[in-house]
């Protein structure tokens, strides 16, 4: 066991040193603190921004919209080798760049492209940039592209990127809380969405190096470590597996706590009302009260795929029809008397109360009656 632990420790040390040699852009040691500016200090100079509790919600109209978010700064670039924008929901197809000004050429703006990955802007290292010099008098990020769905900016940091900070950043990424999302069922990132060094890769490298050292020593220096024993090789792998399992178990603890806080002690109905689609559930509950008992045919329409499909789910066991993939409404000619239509936040649905005529998307008008309307949703009976 001591042999395995020693191998693991030695390999870990070597891997850490190797990684730091590759990733620390400047000095390994330093005492400069990370400089951080919160969303409240940021200004939107182009596009539109809305302060929220979670950060600054930024959008820009048009397919080729431009949004610029800036901050006045005053810090010496020496020692600060990286800038990291804390962002979320950044569309993958936008172009983004960091802009800064220095006191050597106050009239010029310098830019460096930023990479978008996992819907976030990745930190950028500026140690090798000749214009990252002197006092930095301002930072900005420019986003060009379709920002009709807003992105979130929580702040920006100037980092010294010492060895300790690089390691701290990695550990923070690995242990970041990964809450359940729509993508959880397909894949798990293992901490932060974007990671400079995924933990599985790091541990695989550590185990791989440990095994190489072990095989070499067991083959050529058996007097130091003894002959090759598969138990040690297997043990190294299982230990690495367990180490990777610890953040996962910890994440499950936090997830269980979040689930319990949101839903614990509630009835089935209360849990649905507390869920992210609580407003839709409440609307469908009221709609069901207006509908005759199942099994009548009910058509569900909504602009949002989520609301359409989820609304249909809440309507079962009615005989529901919905388009599970596209925002289409049924052909009006296929509806018949005794059918019902439920719409939730669906544009293009028009009802004339005087004529009692219902039509959607400019199509054929049907004789109908409105049974219930509330909060962007309505229930119609087709005659």
């Amino acid at each position: 066991m001591l042999v395995g632990a020693s191998l693991f420790a030695a390999s870990t040390l070597l891997c850490i040193v190797g990684y730091l040699a590759l990733s620390v852009p400047g000095s390994w040691f330093g005492s400069l603190p990370t400089l951080r500016w919160t969303a409240a200090e940021l200004a939107v100079t182009q596009g539109s921004g809305q302060p929220t509790a979670d950060g600054l919600r930024v959008s820009a109209p048009g397919k080729q919209g431009i949004a610029i978010v800036s901050i006045q700064t005053s810090f010496r670039s020496a020692g600060y080798t990286a800038v990291a924008w804390d962002t979320a929901d950044v569309p993958n197809d936008v172009a983004a760049a960091l802009i800064w000004r220095n006191d050597y050429e106050p009239g010029r703006r310098f830019t460096r492209p930023l990479t978008v990955e996992a819907k976030r802007l990745l930190p950028i290292t500026l140690a090798d940039d000749p214009n990252w010099i002197g006092k930095i008098n301002g930072l900005a990020v420019i986003i060009r592209g379709d920002l009709t769905q807003p992105m979130m900016i929580r702040g920006v940091e100037a980092k010294p990127m010492t060895a300790v900070q690089v390691l701290h950043d990695r550990i923070r990424e690995w242990f970041a809380f990964e809450s359940w999302s729509g993508g959880s069922i397909n894949s798990r990132s293992g901490g932060a969405d974007a990671q400079d060094l995924p933990l599985p890769f790091a541990l695989a490298a550590i185990v791989g190096l440990a095994l190489i050292i072990y095989v070499i020593l067991a083959r050529w220096r058996p007097q130091t470590i003894g002959p090759f024993r598969p138990l040690i090789a297997g043990g190294l792998f299982v230990c690495a597996w367990f180490i990777l399992d610890v953040p996962w178990q910890w994440n499950l603890v936090r997830e269980a706590r979040a689930t319990f806080q949101q839903y614990g002690g509630k009835s089935w109905r209360e849990r649905h009302l507390a869920a992210e689609d609580g407003a839709l559930f409440a609307f469908i509950e009221k709609a069901r009260a207006k509908l005759p008992p199942p099994p009548v045919r009910v058509f569900m329409g909504a602009d949002s795929l989520y609301f359409r499909d989820r609304g249909a789910y809440h309507l079962y066991p009615y005989n529901v029809y919905f388009d599970p993939y596209r925002n289409t409404m049924p052909d009006a000619a296929k509806l018949r008397g005794g059918d019902y239509l439920v719409v939730f936040r669906r544009k293009g649905v028009q009802f004339d109360p005087a004529q009692k005529k219902l039509r959607w998307d400019g199509g054929q008008a049907l004789d109908a009656e409105i049974l219930f309307a509330e909060g962007g949703g309505a229930v119609f009976a087709i005659h």
């Binding site: 066991m1 359940w180 729509g182 959880s184 069922i185 397909n186 894949s187 798990r188 990132s189 293992g190 901490g191 995924p198 933990l199 599985p200 541990l203 695989a204 185990v207 791989g208 090759f228 024993r229 598969p230 138990l231 297997g234 792998f237 299982v238 690495a240 597996w241 990777l244 399992d245 996962w248 178990q249 499950l252 603890v253 997830e255 269980a256 689930t259 319990f260 949101q262 839903y263 614990g264 509630k266 089935w268 849990r271 649905h272 869920a275 199942p294 099994p295 499909d309 989820r310 249909a312 789910y313 079962y316 066991p317 005989n319 529901v320 029809y321 599970p324 993939y325 049924p330 296929k334």
Partner: protein
């Protein structure tokens, strides 16, 4: 009271399957030791759950409404009858049960191993508890669960029978007796399990209906432990193998965010392959019957289950022809590859997947999904290394039949990813990981068996003989 009823409802398939296996005297070798108990527990739940849903199908076809009386009572009676038969036939002795459970939870081992054993059991218990929190309280969450699986469960629960789900054009043309959802052609087993949970509970609850997913994960863990013990793997190593399966992050996620058919598919397919492997090693008819029964049920879980079941065929060939089997399978692969290349020049549609020569390896998707994301812990790193180090052993008895099954499964994944119109979904990671989930537990089992073989290769011959389970 209702949760007591739900617990009874969840235990019923477990007891039914256990009673069936005990009555059959399966597994034959190994008596009532810990490995046998684990094997029976793991296979028992799966068989019980499948029998339950088959019974529900029968009731529905006969026009009998679903309910505690119509479903629970006959199955409970069958359970008691099977246990009584097993007792009379001497296939189970209550006096041995305590010894068996003691052997399962407290096998003899050195002190340091005992500490690891207790730690792992505790760690796994905590894992299952944490997953249970989400199952208990989280309203049905993942997308396909409520757009194509629970839709059927809700309708069938309320109607008390299976009603047909049809495609949109048939739905519009029909009189209104059939229903529609995003996947009307999907099999009924998974929704029927949900229906039974709600019947047991006494009301519709789309959280509580998902308890079978946790049961399946626990059953899979037990079955893997029992299967490894059955092949002579030491208790602690077998527990580590079971832990590696139970700690696969994506498998856990599918238990916590229950409602997809991938965890049930992974469990049934793994157990099918384990039963097949037992047959390949022992040539016991009951092993063969169980493997066949489970293989026939694979398409009842998911449509690709048919292909997963067929991946066993090359393994059967290798098991039946130990000398030439690998050559036969190799030639069949080559012919298959040639046929595939020919087919891929056309636009043939098989099982809804269009074959075409848009060969696109998508290595980046594999790299991201298998090696960089945390979906699989270190599974694929380990699998690659083991495949290289143990390549020779994988092609020899006793591992060859199982290795060929796993190899065929991997070939199936590569085929779907590279040659069909599913490649787009695969490369977006929406399907690749989920398709891989079906095979992943079996890869762990094969890895554990291979490691045992490699380790045994460096030990004296006496140490490699299979120990009693």
């Amino acid at each position: 009271m209702e949760y007591l009823a739900l617990t009874a409802g969840l235990m019923l398939p477990w007891l039914l399957g256990l009673a069936l296996l005990v009555a059959l005297g399966w597994p034959q070798a190994g008596g009532d030791s810990g490995g046998t108990v684990a094997l029976r527990a793991g296979f028992g739940y799966c068989f019980g759950a499948l029998l339950l849903t088959l019974w529900m199908r029968l009731l529905s076809a006969a026009g009998v409404a679903f309910g505690w009386l119509s479903i629970g009572m006959p199955l409970a009676i069958a359970t008691v009858a099977l246990l009584a038969f097993a007792l009379r036939a001497g296939r189970i002795a209550p006096v041995n049960l305590r010894t068996a459970i003691g052997s399962l939870l407290w096998p003899p081992m050195p002190r340091w191993q005992r500490l690891v054993w207790i730690g792992l059991i505790g760690w796994l218990a905590l894992r299952f508890l944490l997953l249970a929190v989400d199952i208990a309280w989280q309203p049905l969450y993942p997308w396909d669960a409520w757009v194509q699986w629970a839709t059927k469960a809700r309708v069938w629960y309320e109607l008390g029978r299976i009603a047909p789900f049809v495609r949109a054009e048939q739905w519009f043309a029909g009189p209104g007796a059939a229903y529609f959802d995003a996947a009307p052609n999907y099999p009924a087993t998974v929704p029927l399990l949900q229906v039974w949970s709600c019947i047991a509970l006494g009301r519709w609850d789309d959280s509580a209906m998902n308890w079978p997913w946790l049961m399946l994960l626990i059953a899979l863990t037990c079955a893997v432990y029992g299967a490894l013990r059955g092949e002579g793997v030491a208790p602690l190593a077998a527990l580590v193998g079971a832990y590696l399966v139970a700690s696969l992050p994506l498998l856990d996620t599918h238990a916590a965010l229950a409602g997809y058919a991938d965890l049930p598919m992974a469990t049934i397919y793994t157990l099918t392959a384990l039963a097949f492997y037992r047959w390949a090693m022992r040539r016991d008819r009951i092993d063969a019957a169980l493997a066949l029964g489970l293989a026939l049920c694979c398409p009842l879980i998911k449509i690709p289950g048919l292909v997963w079941a067929l991946t066993l065929l090359p393994g059967v060939v290798v098991a039946l022809m130990p000398r030439r089997g690998l050559q036969v399978v190799g030639i069949a692969y080559a012919v298959g590859l040639f046929a595939l290349l020919a087919l891929a020049r056309t636009n043939v549609v098989i099982l809804g997947y269009k074959l075409h020569a848009d060969f696109d390896p998508g290595w980046r998707a594999f790299w991201d999904a298998y090696l960089l994301s945390s979906s699989w812990n270190l599974l694929w790193y380990g699998a690659v290394v083991m495949a290289i180090v143990g390549a020779r052993r994988l092609g020899q008895p006793p591992l060859a039949p199982l290795a060929v099954v796993v190899g065929t499964g991997i070939a199936f994944l590569l085929f779907v990813t590279w040659f069909t119109n599913a490649s787009g979904w695969m490369q977006e990671l929406t399907t690749l990981n989920r398709a891989t989930l079906h095979l992943a537990p079996l890869v762990v089992v094969l890895g554990a068996l291979l490691w045992r073989e490699l380790a045994a290769g460096t030990q004296p011959a006496a140490a490699v003989a299979p120990a009693p389970a």
